[in-house]
């Protein structure tokens, strides 16, 4: 235990931690900040977000057929409110626009003056009701055509799954697509940052001893040869600590996006792209987090091995690069981004994780076997 602590302390080189903080800061500004600052992005997305939350407050995480009728009634009421606004507005009543229908179907090119007024109301004054109506129309459209949409979708070949999907009441869940996309993009970037950080920090675990010529001393004793195991443990602990710290900070920031209302909604929702598994948004978040932890442990295992084999820093960094590139590619395809979505078969995701874990476990196991007899020079 004491040795593991010593090893951990050796890994926490203050210069490197400083670099890592700086790198994370730059990484945040390059790849993460937009996901926080521009969410939900503009109008009517923002209005869509608001309306969806109101719907959850009213109907719960799902909106069944009866509630949908009620939703349409609310829409009509809003339309009337919009009509009242138009009637009370001088410019519009002069142009003969008194109802929302007329407002919508108004031929913009026919009357530039009214067109300008319309632009002013929508973009400069940003009158909420018109944007909200647009958002509601989008939702109604999605809901009404949900079942047809799945059958014309070219991306999904599995007819059985389609039939199952249509029977499942979870498809009435309220969960706008951009909420899922936003989380998916953010967690992918965080996962990349974590994997790279683990490689940077854990990659030094053996090489510092080699650089100090301590290896020749250590490996002459039995205790010294057992160090590999201790260092292995230290690497795993380190990876877990790094992952936890990053994820903690990330979720503190993600809380600003205020999506907790959607946690109970299923990913089968009528507005999201398709996922294979009927899981709630919260479960999706948890699965993504588990994925990040697994990948961080895999990265730590590979880094431990490379660190033991590499004779100098250049080969240490160089050997990490193809692995980092490969892991990043896999993460952005199906290991983290939109995990279990219809773009890739479920089995592919699961088998890749299993393969990576088996690979990580076996390289450590076989190296551990080899450590007992390996020559020092």
């Amino acid at each position: 235990m004491r040795i593991i602590l010593y090893e951990l302390r050796k890994l926490l080189n203050w210069k490197l931690i400083g670099f890592l903080v700086l790198l994370s800061f730059l990484f945040y500004h390059m790849f993460l900040s937009t996901g926080f600052e521009y969410f939900p992005n503009g109008r009517p997305s923002g209005d869509h977000f608001k309306v969806s939350k109101q719907m959850i407050a009213e109907y719960g995480p799902e909106m069944d057929k009866k509630e949908f009728e009620d939703f349409k009634v609310t829409y009509q009421e809003e339309v009337e409110k919009a009509g009242e606004y138009l009637k009370s507005h001088e410019g519009f009543s002069e142009a003969g626009i008194a109802t929302y229908e007329e407002f919508r179907s108004f031929d913009r090119s026919s009357n530039p003056e009214v067109n300008e007024l319309l632009g002013k109301v929508m973009f400069e004054e940003g009158v909420d009701i018109f944007w909200e109506l647009q958002a509601r129309e989008g939702i109604i459209d999605f809901y009404a055509h949900n079942d047809e949409r799945i059958f014309i979708s070219d991306n999904i070949q599995d007819e059985e799954w389609k039939k199952e999907y249509v029977k499942n009441p979870s498809r009435h869940a309220i969960l706008p697509n951009f909420v899922v996309e936003n989380f998916s993009n953010l967690i992918t970037m965080v996962a990349i940052l974590i994997v790279l950080s683990v490689m940077i920090i854990v990659g030094r675990v053996h090489i510092i001893d080699r650089k100090n010529n301590a290896i020749t001393l250590q490996y002459t004793t039995k205790e010294g040869r057992n160090l590999f195991k201790k260092k292995m443990a230290a690497s795993m602990v380190m990876a877990t600590i790094i992952t936890t710290v990053y994820l903690f900070v990330f979720f503190l920031m993600y809380a600003q996006n205020e999506t907790s209302e959607f946690f109970a909604s299923s990913l089968y929702a009528f507005e999201t792209n398709y996922f294979w598994i009927d899981m709630t948004f919260l479960q999706y978040i948890i699965i993504s987090v588990i994925g990040v932890y697994l990948l961080s442990l895999v990265a730590a295992a590979i880094a431990t091995l490379i660190s033991r084999i590499a004779v100098n820093y250049i080969s240490l960094i160089g050997a990490h690069i193809p692995i980092a590139v490969l892991l990043i590619l896999l993460m952005t395809q199906y290991l983290i981004t939109r995990i279990f979505s219809h773009q890739y078969p479920v089995l592919l995701t699961i088998s890749t994780y299993v393969a990576l874990l088996v690979l990580a476990g076996s390289i450590l196991f076989f190296r551990w076997k080899k450590e007992q007899k390996v020559d020092i020079v």
Binding site: K15, L16, F19, L20, L22, L23, L26, F27, H29, M30, I200, R204, K211, N213, N312, Y313, I314, S315, L316, I317, G318, A319, I321, P322, V325
Partner: protein, 416 residues
């Protein structure tokens, strides 16, 4: 002689070779991105074989005659004999839903259709260029980025200069040449943006690692206290720079050369080497590529490779300086990454009101972000005619000065 010894140190590192092989593999994967279009692109090769690449009245007449034959054969393919089709695309439109043709006939129809696009676009080029409104584009750019005051003024002036160049280009007829229809195939993007960026970042990794490893070698292998105790030993630091420079040129040529070999074996550019890079068919967006000088495709490629090489020398200089002070390859690598990140981020963080934002773009890290826009007036922040030359010049002088001071410092430092 000593340089040779230093070079041997590099050559004997298996990881360098491993990385080169890995990067070449990656680049070949990127190269294969457009192979789906290969058959379609062959239509152009035939056109160029028949008419040459220049579009003038003479060739247009020839193409027109052949096009009539094509239309006739399209009508031969059509099922409905009562209907005559003016263009292959009309028949394609009809056959979108139900298609009575065999696969081979369909292939032919598609080829006719590509012929049609080349023919009709060639006739339209003049009209398209007369309608390019650079002042309007400048206004759009200014609005899109929210520029104000001085910065907005600069963009307007630069687009005005580009407008003059556009007039010159139209007088030269640089735009009227046949080339791959890149609105469809985006070959410029594939070659100069996707592969270009891959080159720049891959080589950056290699160059930084090599330079740092060579320069720090004595410290990392505990030979410093021997080699740096004599004056000629301290002079090693210059030899190491020489070795890094040779290695930088070598890896650049190997990676770029290897990838280009794969690329041009995959895609047939026969007969296209002398097409001006500003040809309309090269355009991928509503604003076509407008190069500041009249350059052929081959000349543009030459500058492209040259600029890659110069960028790598700058990165070499930077990592050399970092190595002298940090003395540790690991730290140098990450310090370098931080510089890259800051260089990319900083220009985006200043207010868009003064020219400061343009000055900040004169750095090698923003320069390598859009290699497909080098020498072109297409990026609003890098739209200066001499942007590349000025950036390279300033940084080369700056890095040379710091290097000289660093070497001076190195020769007098304490050994510990």
């Amino acid at each position: 002689m000593i340089i040779k010894q230093e070079l041997l140190k590099i050559i004997r590192m298996p990881i360098i070779w491993g990385l080169i092989v890995f990067f070449l593999g990656l680049n070949i994967l990127i190269t294969m991105n457009n192979t789906d279009f290969k058959e379609d692109m062959a239509v152009l090769s035939n056109l160029v074989d028949d008419y040459g690449h220049e579009i003038n009245e003479e060739t247009l007449v020839k193409i027109e005659n052949d096009y009539e034959k094509v239309v006739a054969s399209v009508n031969g393919l059509a099922e409905d004999k009562n209907k005559t089709y003016d263009h292959p695309s009309e028949l394609l439109e009809d056959y979108k839903v139900q298609n009575p043709l065999t696969e081979e006939e369909m292939r032919k129809l598609w080829n006719h259709h590509y012929f049609e696009v080349y023919y009709r676009t060639s006739k339209d080029i003049d009209g398209i260029y007369e309608n390019i409104n650079l002042a309007g584009i400048a206004d759009t750019v200014i609005r899109m980025y929210g520029m104000e005051a001085g910065a907005a003024e600069t963009v307007r002036t630069q687009f005005q200069k580009l407008d003059e160049r556009l007039d010159e280009l139209m007088d030269n007829g640089e735009h009227k040449h046949l080339f791959f229809n890149n609105m469809l195939y985006e070959m410029h993007e594939l070659l100069f943006e996707k592969l270009g960026r891959a080159f720049l970042f891959e080589l950056m990794i290699l160059v930084v690692l090599i330079t740092a490893a060579v320069t720090n070698y004595e410290f990392e292998n505990r030979t410093a206290s021997i080699s740096y105790t004599t004056i000629s030993g301290r002079n090693l630091v210059l030899k190491k720079l020489g070795a890094s420079a040779i290695a930088t040129s070598a890896v650049t040529l190997v990676v770029v050369g290897g990838t280009f070999t794969a690329y041009f074996l995959t895609y047939d550019y026969t007969g296209l080497w002398n097409v001006p890079i500003s040809a309309y068919f090269n355009a991928e967006t509503p604003l076509p590529y407008i190069s500041w000088w009249n350059l052929t495709f081959l000349e543009y490629m030459g500058f492209f490779v040259l600029f890659i090489l110069i960028s790598q020398y700058l990165f070499m200089g930077l990592s050399y300086i970092l190595s002298i002070y940090l003395k540790n390859t690991y730290l140098v690598f990450f310090a370098f990454l931080i510089l890259v990140g800051s260089g990319i981020l900083l220009p985006g963080k200043v207010p868009l009101t003064t020219d400061l934002v343009f000055y900040l773009h004169y750095n090698p890290f923003t320069l390598i972000l859009n290699p497909h826009e080098w020498l072109m007036g297409n990026g609003p922040f890098t739209i200066y005619k001499h942007y590349e030359a000025v950036t390279f010049g300033i940084w080369a002088v700056l890095l040379a000065l710091i290097s000289i001071t660093s070497i001076h410092y190195f020769k007098r430092q304490q050994l510990h």
